[in-house]
Amino acid sequence: MCLAVPGRVLSINGNMGIIEVGKLRRNVFLHLTPDVAIDDYVLVHAGCAIQEIDEVEAKITLDILKELAECEIRR
């Protein structure tokens, strides 16, 4: 019920913005993510940015996986 995809914010014009997903661009609502800035990543669902993506948290998740992978290799 929630098909959504990460997109990079290219430009902001009031409550609207242009995001880029895989080199494709689209106008989206930014009403739900008013603090977003250019080059930030947002999660886009049906033409609306529903949340900003926390790059730090994403990195933490991936670092944990990387560590798990390295443990496996060492075993």
Binding site: L3, V5, V21, G22, K23, R25, R26, A46
Partner: protein, 334 residues
């Protein structure tokens, strides 16, 4: 007069003017110019391939082409994948009253250009005009004949266990372009149809190895439809590798946003090729030297398993069935 009227289709002076000013201007060749009721052609081959297709695409003009380009490439490709050298086409037009003559000229000019690129001559044609509302702008039918190459046996039923499956480039370009333009989905970027005549690419492949088992163009229903047909006719199981599928970033992006699978999205310039493993590298190499095969890639193989099915080995190490598509493609938000 800037638009087509009913008198353009009534067989009188307006019809003749239209034929001369547009169709003959661009399609001109020695056979057509004889202006007989039927094209008279000398042939020097034993077996001919003969096909027909009708084109009703909406929108008529799209990034990468128009209905005319589709009409020539579609029929040329059907001949080429049957192991034939495409030679002659007919083209019949059904045009809506009020259609722009400028647009008609662009379409016809495009058809002539594709004809030249692929080496086919358009040798007969017809034009009808119908009242406004009875067709969607313009419909085109093309029929084509080609000479079947001797010593080439390409057939949907020829796939064998161990065959490697190659596509000549990125998947889903045409269908995604059309879907986005038709529904005004508001995406901007380099979404462009891959519509192209593939006969010279097929020649290149057959030169590299004339024992290719199957060649099919993947049009409506995408690669999924074609592979299911081949699996059915050849009674084989096909395994695809998710991490090997070549997909443009733009198509990927649109597919992710719309919840669509590029395996099911139409192409107009893509082939699925089944080659015995031993000859796969040489065919792949030959394809990559051709402009329409620069991104050719191996996407899977025919396995030893019994039964007719197509499945995908996913990045997770699981399997999912890639079944025959049914119904029309619809974007989703869920």
């Amino acid at each position: 007069m800037s638009t087509i009227t009913l008198s353009h289709g009534s067989g009188g002076t307006q019809t003749n003017k239209l034929i001369n000013d547009i169709f003959f201007k661009y399609f001109s060749n020695d056979i057509l110019n004889q202006m007989n009721d039927a094209a008279q052609i000398d042939i020097d081959f034993k077996k001919l391939a003969f096909t027909t297709d009708s084109f009703v695409v909406n929108p008529i003009f799209f990034a990468g082409g128009n209905i005319g380009k589709l009409a020539v490439c579609g029929t040329v490709n059907d001949l080429a994948v049957s192991g034939a050298k495409p030679l002659y086409l007919t083209s019949a037009f059904i045009i809506e009253e009020g259609f722009s003559i400028v647009n008609l000229e662009i379409i016809v000019k495009t058809m002539a250009e594709e004809g030249k690129k692929s080496g086919v001559k358009i040798v007969a044609g017809d034009t009808k005009v119908v009242e406004k509302g009875n067709v969607d702008g313009i419909y085109i039918n093309t029929s084509g004949i080609g000479s079947i190459y001797e010593n080439v046996n390409i057939n949907c039923a020829n796939a064998k266990s161990g065959d490697v499956i190659i596509v000549n480039g990125t998947l889903g370009d045409h269908g995604m372009t059309i879907l986005c333009e038709r529904n005004n989905l508001g995406f901007e970027g380099n979404l462009i149809s891959d519509c192209a005549c593939l006969n010279t690419l097929v020649d290149c492949m057959l030169d590299a190895y004339d024992g290719i088992h199957v060649i099919r163009d993947a049009t409506r229903g995408g690669v999924a439809a074609v592979l299911n047909e081949i699996s059915d006719f050849s009674n084989v199981t096909i395994a695809l590798e998710e991490n090997l599928l070549p997909i443009k970033e733009e198509v990927k992006g649109a597919a992710e946003m719309l919840g669509l699978d590029p395996l099911y999205i139409a192409n107009e310039g893509k082939l699925c090729v089944f080659v015995p493993e031993a000859q796969a590298e040489q065919v792949l190499f030959a394809m990559r030297t051709h402009p329409l095969g620069a991104n050719a890639a191996i996407i899977g193989r025919v396995t030893e398993e019994l039964g007719k099915k197509v499945y995908l080995n996913t990045v997770v190490g699981g399997k999912r069935i890639v079944d025959m598509p049914s119904g029309i493609l619809l974007p989703r938000i869920c």
